[in-house]
Symmetry: C2
Amino acid sequence: MTSISINSFEEIIIPASAHPLVAHATGSSRLVRTLLGERVEKTPVWFMRQAGRSLPEYRALRSQGSMLDACLTPELASEITLQPVRRHGVDAAIFFSDIIVPLAILGIEVEIAAGRGPVFARPLSTAADIARAVEIDPALVRERGEAIARAVELTTDMLAEESESRGEPLPLIGFAGAPFTLAAYLVEGGPSKDHLAARRLIHEDPAAWNALTEWLARVTGEFLALQVASGASAAQLFDSWAGGLPPEDYRAAALPASAASLDAVRALPVPEGAGIDHIPLVHFGVGTGEILRDMASIGIDALGVDYRVPLDEAARRVGSHLTLQGNLDPALLFAPAGVRDAAIERILEAGRSARAHVFNLGHGVPMQADPDAISSVVRTVHGWRSA
Amino acid sequence: MTSISINSFEEIIIPASAHPLVAHATGSSRLVRTLLGERVEKTPVWFMRQAGRSLPEYRALRSQGSMLDACLTPELASEITLQPVRRHGVDAAIFFSDIIVPLAILGIEVEIAAGRGPVFARPLSTAADIARAVEIDPALVRERGEAIARAVELTTDMLAEESESRGEPLPLIGFAGAPFTLAAYLVEGGPSKDHLAARRLIHEDPAAWNALTEWLARVTGEFLALQVASGASAAQLFDSWAGGLPPEDYRAAALPASAASLDAVRALPVPEGAGIDHIPLVHFGVGTGEILRDMASIGIDALGVDYRVPLDEAARRVGSHLTLQGNLDPALLFAPAGVRDAAIERILEAGRSARAHVFNLGHGVPMQADPDAISSVVRTVHGWRSA
């Protein structure tokens, strides 16, 4: 797999001194320190899909226009990204975007159907479809990605303001979908219960599969690097469907492309004065109990664990040299406060087995969740002391 | 949980001497012996969803009428059940039905939408909905289940004929959906990616949840017992969605009802002269790596393992006192024959770690599968010798 040249980022990346890692000291934020292995007094907490449909202020902003339009409108994407930070008091923002955004930037026709997910106008059903798609230069993500770069810049400016009022730095987490999950959507044409079209292609036409995932590794790498170069202080790779693969297929047909995609972030220079030696990388998937060790093996700093594997068990499986992130069952947002708080405490206790722990849900925030329940999770986590 | 009275089965069960276990010696079949722990020369093989849309003869028979009608028309259900036995030479028939059939028999409005799954006209969205549903007497499954009893009888007659031409007994496996999976469908109103409505109810209203699953345990028990009393020689409990629960919720909110449902089969008298002391019970779910040991803990004979956990690893998790069933990835039905055969051999080798092994897929036969590939799996399995 060819490594990604970062030269042409120079045109769009912000000056090193303007990067939040330098300008706003986000390298010393609770989240970044914890991802890099430090135990801090208050366990940092953020939520996957914290920006989105659970918030009335989000629904008000998104009353018109498509999801994709919102992702590509910097003023809107940055405001949405900030909403949960202001409301819940979480320790980080996660960039409001979607895993298919880089594909849309490349001109692949896709829409995000409400309540369903991404739907592609032309699924990559054949080897010829794939051969045509991989002709598109992944570097176009960067060249045409001004809206993303601008949204990240606006977001980090707003986070800096919020940081001042809180009196502590607030980092932005960038993210991208992993090549396997993107491939599963592209080949299937949309969401699927079992991702059989993708799992079938792995065995039916391994060459086409490899071409697709190698290309997607570059696309994902470009999208992650664009966010980090524009101001994100950490990056998370979402491999939502990785748990649907048998472990040997995951290792052979999915993991190498995920590893390659992260190289794009590693290849970026860390801004001078950032106070950290590399950008922390988080790796997350759902139903990944059988492949946690594999997911942990690609030089990441933190592993996201879903709600099926207790964190102490996850630490046993992957070793204690990684930060773990997770893993409250989103269903517990609907439980009585006492039940939920007891579960949070169990997770915080289990998190002691890892070198450090970032609290999160074990999956995304459900749209039906009560925002007050989410805020109360933050209070409970911040009120807990490991001593 | 009240145990199920079997007295009123007397009206519909076939005489003991007519039960295939006695009349056709299915207790000495390769499948039943293996489920009960015996190592036989040829590993028995059958496939989940072997009867169905992958077969052209099925599509021809099902060109009109609904799926539910087919399940409730004895001549059709029995013919469909036999089709894969004749074509593939598998070692057992699995009754052609659907997990929602007992609910339909009880008068709950449901249809099976093509390509989607069961859709309920009135989801059990509130505690009041649940309270009304559980008023329905589960014994009506038996009283109104003549079509099922008749279909099982026709099927076992046809299997006896097929057995004669093959020169070996061929058993019928009965099956039912487990209470958790049925509850997930009922509460959600249809298929769902994450079963959040059910997982939410567990925490939001545990009393309503318990009432629902205790009732479903009796419904499932009635449906399983009806099939066994009418001529099935083994029974499998499908908990398709069990893997979506955190292990502690599975143990507290799903497993007890599954255990109770199997009691209905255990309470049936084994026909005199059957040559076995109990009806073998199989337990299966998808994505169950974290709960295999729990699933194995309810007095079953065999545990079905999906394609994510190798059988030797499954044997390590549950102990070697159970027969294991599985677990070829259905995606490998689309692989070149050499790749598929190598995977089959690996599974057969791994199956040595269990006390005995029934070969199967790790999930249902996909509708797009080539019937010839399925037949070739049977030949490869039957051609393998453990010595």
